[in-house]
Symmetry: D2
């Protein structure tokens, strides 16, 4: 059975997912798309033999659409996800699930009311081979209980529109999900350190930032966010357990010995760093949709990330450690 | 347009390719299969909604089959490849192209007579990201002219049926193709050193072996083949140019610090080492079939590998360096 | 001219330095020693042809002693260092310079009153090749201004007597000096995070701890101290600048490929990790004594480390970030 | 007891050893030196408070000289070593022990006639921590019997005077000794491959070369010698055993992430690569002289290296594998 997918939002990331569903994922096809720029939607649709429909609601309720991918502008996510739940259809929503914790909570409640999981959020790192190997090591328990995590998230540069809160909302949000997932633990407090700023940034931006998280079981995770590091896109993560540590490898590249240096390339963008993870994310999502059993990051993960992001932004502004105020996780979302 | 594929031979590697075409490659489907064990062919066929046909000829000439994958027993390869050429269909043939250089040559001649390239041989390393990065470095010329290559090909163990000639025919054949491709150069002589044998082998086997190749432009390549190394499946390759060297990375795995060791896993089998390469090989082959322009390893590469393998086996038996006696490459096969 | 050295304190570290001065450093000899355990002093003295004297004062004022090494019990350091200054002799004092910031300050004032530098403190990391290479990179300015430092200090285990304050006083004190020296900057605040504790510790100990330092120019340095990490003695340090980062290498060891792992040894104790640094520390100190120009870590560095340690311990107890209250650095100590 | 050393030959390497004995080694002093350039000998002597004597014989027979270091021109080595044996004094001779195998043999015979070991040859790699760690691994037997060795010896450039035979005599001679020592095995045949030459060489030189050695127990060792590799001084060595491999680490250097590259420095000269080994070589030799028990590389090792070098040069000229014709090792030299 081919899963027929409708895509709401045909911007850069939407087009990338459409290409992925078309060229990489077997057993799925994009049948309908829409965009606020309807001309763009039509161009994209014709490229893959899909129909361009006027609105997101049209796509979601189209009887030929089995499942929905939401890649529209962030503030519209909640509306479309709720519509998909109302239509009883699986929906893959790029992060954020919604731009406010309240909206995330509405989705969580709507999904519970529906009675089974329909929502997946685009936290693609859970599909990265390195992170998965780390999770296996942690779950095997060979390192004892986890105690600490050290994370680094660096981008070469960011455009002027990137502001200080985005260091949390757009960047560290991936680490926030990763920490929660790797440790199977909830974040309970956040603090943000604001080091001397790099001169290679737009004036308004606090860059770098160091975020300090504490989990319910007392694990401390520090996350360096440095989005104008110049040299490359670089993701690092080390988890320290009672008897040892596990660390992500640097992406494999050929080693050169030349001009007095032993060297290897550093990737320059997140697309290439997580290309295989994005592919696997959709392969597994389509399989899960077909079999009706979602296991990927869900609505609760989207809600929790939103609350922790809000807390972190509050911590950035206040300069103090701030407690995370989150609902209790419903039994519905116990894994 | 979906490429409809017929598969001749549904053993382990055949099934693996069928799964790949079905689950990984978009725009292709397996429509017909056959096998000497027709019951097996039927089981495999039913799993993917294909038809099981009585013979390879039936598959090849079936009007619903656009292109053929040959994964039958080696000695039957030539017959099926020639039949596919006769039918004017693209054919992907697992290595070896044929079990004798003479048969390879017949294929080369048949393809030339046909007038355009139809044959691709399963040298999947050309699709490995590490080798491709190495080729880019070499082609860019930053290291000057290549002078030396050091290759290592190790397997944890081999079964009793693996004999000393297979160290060339089944194992080093990949390095032979890789050397030719990376250097865009032809191998002109071969010698085999026979070190002290590991005690962890079947009695009849010379293991390890060191093969020494020379290319037309004078590059020297050494290939260690050690197929009972116990510790893992390990492929290494370093090319030395006039001003520097380039080396394959070890496959990336998480790093553990535990019990006094810093360590990372070594893969245990070739399937996992080259999984992404196998996938890409078929993705690109299907695209090439669709567009009618093959660029992968072809009949001439299969012939050249066969001649070099014959020479290497002769060198193993004689204990001396042996010259490669190869036809001149026809203009048809100039890239 | 051979530098004749008197050693006050012949415990483990004292004996180690005596062996070093005798066997490793040329142009120096130990001529007099003392210890609270006079029998031990006599045994040690006879082993190197030195005299055992009754008290530290006797050693310091002995006319045959050119320079003094203080390796006695911490609380006695200040007295002996002050006596050496009073005697106008160079003195190498193992850390801490004194057990209170007030006593350090008395030494600083005494040395200034004397009019030239006589005191060196045993911060041996400044003599480690890795840290020195890092300092060269930072001083060259190729990475722009430093913004962040990430430090890790792990020991396999500690004895029961090791208490939570020692994580600062005995362990992180090395990072405190290293941060100040590498950045040529002063630490202005400290905070301590107290993660979930490892079960592999003595009950009373907070282990691990994460210390957060800020420098006058705004650099943020985090230091993980984990003294029961089980797997080895592991020192890591990465400095992040505006255009790149520099990181200590792991100590070089042979690489094994065995039993499915690629691995290398992790050292088990600090003596071996910093053996070459300890040697070089004494080689350079003896040369500096001979030439009368100290450049190593001095009394001011001992004072600054003491103040930062006091602040860090206060931060551990209070759970809050605490400002460092330090005197202004006198011109005498400008480098 | 201070070991009083006489040095014959005050050229670059002689001066380096004099500095080492003076500044690095405790318990030794240079008391007499000589050189064909007597003015140079006098300058060097006055720098360390030694006497300059007219001839090597004067130095060797001087009653104040306990042990002799021979660092004169290669062709004079045999004469001085024989004189030292005649004088019953320990003698450290830089490689080569003598410039002909016959002269080496005369030394071997003279030393046997004398009745105890007096001669050490300057094969400093036996004192390198990496090689020593490799030897421990091999001796422990964890990897089973050794089967293969892969060695690489690269220099950035060589001067015009360096000729093709020196690739063996000056360069690979270190690997020849290392192979013999690591494996505790004798080399029985040699072959030399002559790849395409780098354009960055003086016209007369065959560079690179690949030397192939076989040992008595059947181990095969390949040695790449490439002395104009441009990028650095690079020594690599991997030994392959029945169940795993052990490989020298690259020298530790800080890791930079900058301008899209992860990189570390490659050393540029052998002095720095083996500085610690040279130091330890003399520390251990002086200790051995003092205690009268040499364990370092001796006259037999010098002889064996000479014979293997002769064989290798013959193999270079003949293009064929050549058998090593060596005397049987006398019981005197069994370890």
């Amino acid at each position: 059975m081919t899963v027929r997918i409708g895509v709401v939002g045909t911007g850069m990331i939407g087009q990338d997912h459409i290409r992925r569903i078309t060229d990489v994922v077997t057993g799925a096809e994009v049948v309908a798309v829409t965009d606020v720029d309807i001309a763009r939607a039509e161009r994209v649709a014709s490229g893959v033999g899909a129909r361009a429909l006027p609105t997101g609601q049209d796509v979601i309720t189209d009887p030929l659409v089995d499942a929905v991918v939401v890649t529209s502008w962030g503030p519209t996510h909640a509306e479309y996800v709720l519509a998909a739940i109302a239509a009883g259809k699986h929906v893959f929503c790029e992060k954020p699930l919604a731009t406010t914790a309240e909206d995330c909570l509405r989705i969580v409640e709507a999904e519970q009311a529906h009675g089974r999981r329909l929502v997946q959020v685009g936290f693609m790192r859970r599909y990265d081979q390195g992170y998965r190997a780390m999770k296996r090591v942690l779950d095997d328990g060979d390192l004892g209980a986890p105690l600490l995590m050290h994370c680094v998230h660096r981008n070469p540069t960011v455009p002027e529109a990137y502001h200080s809160e985005m260091a949390t909302q757009d960047t560290a949000v991936h680490e926030i999900d990763t920490i929660r997932w790797l440790l199977a633990d909830e974040i309970v407090s956040a603090q943000v350190l604001t080091p001397r700023r790099t001169t290679r940034r737009f004036e308004h931006l606090q860059d770098p930032q160091v975020m300090l998280f504490e989990t319910a079981s007392g694990v401390r995770a520090d996350v360096e966010v440095f989005v104008n590091c110049q040299y490359g896109y670089d993701i690092q993560c080390e988890t320290v357990g009672e008897t040892g540590t596990v660390r992500l490898p640097d992406p494999a590249d050929v080693w050169l010995r030349q001009s007095g240096r032993l060297s290897s390339g550093v990737l320059q963008d997140w697309k290439r760093r997580f290309a295989a993870a994005f592919d696997l994310e959709f392969v597994e999502w389509v399989a899960a949709v077909r079999e009706g059993t979602l296991t990927g990051p869900g609505a609760w993960d989207g809600y929790a990330a939103a609350v922790v992001c809000d807390t972190t932004v509050e911590a950035l502004h206040s300069g103090r450690a701030v407690e995370v105020r989150m609902k209790d996780r419903p039994a519905f979302y116990e894994s």
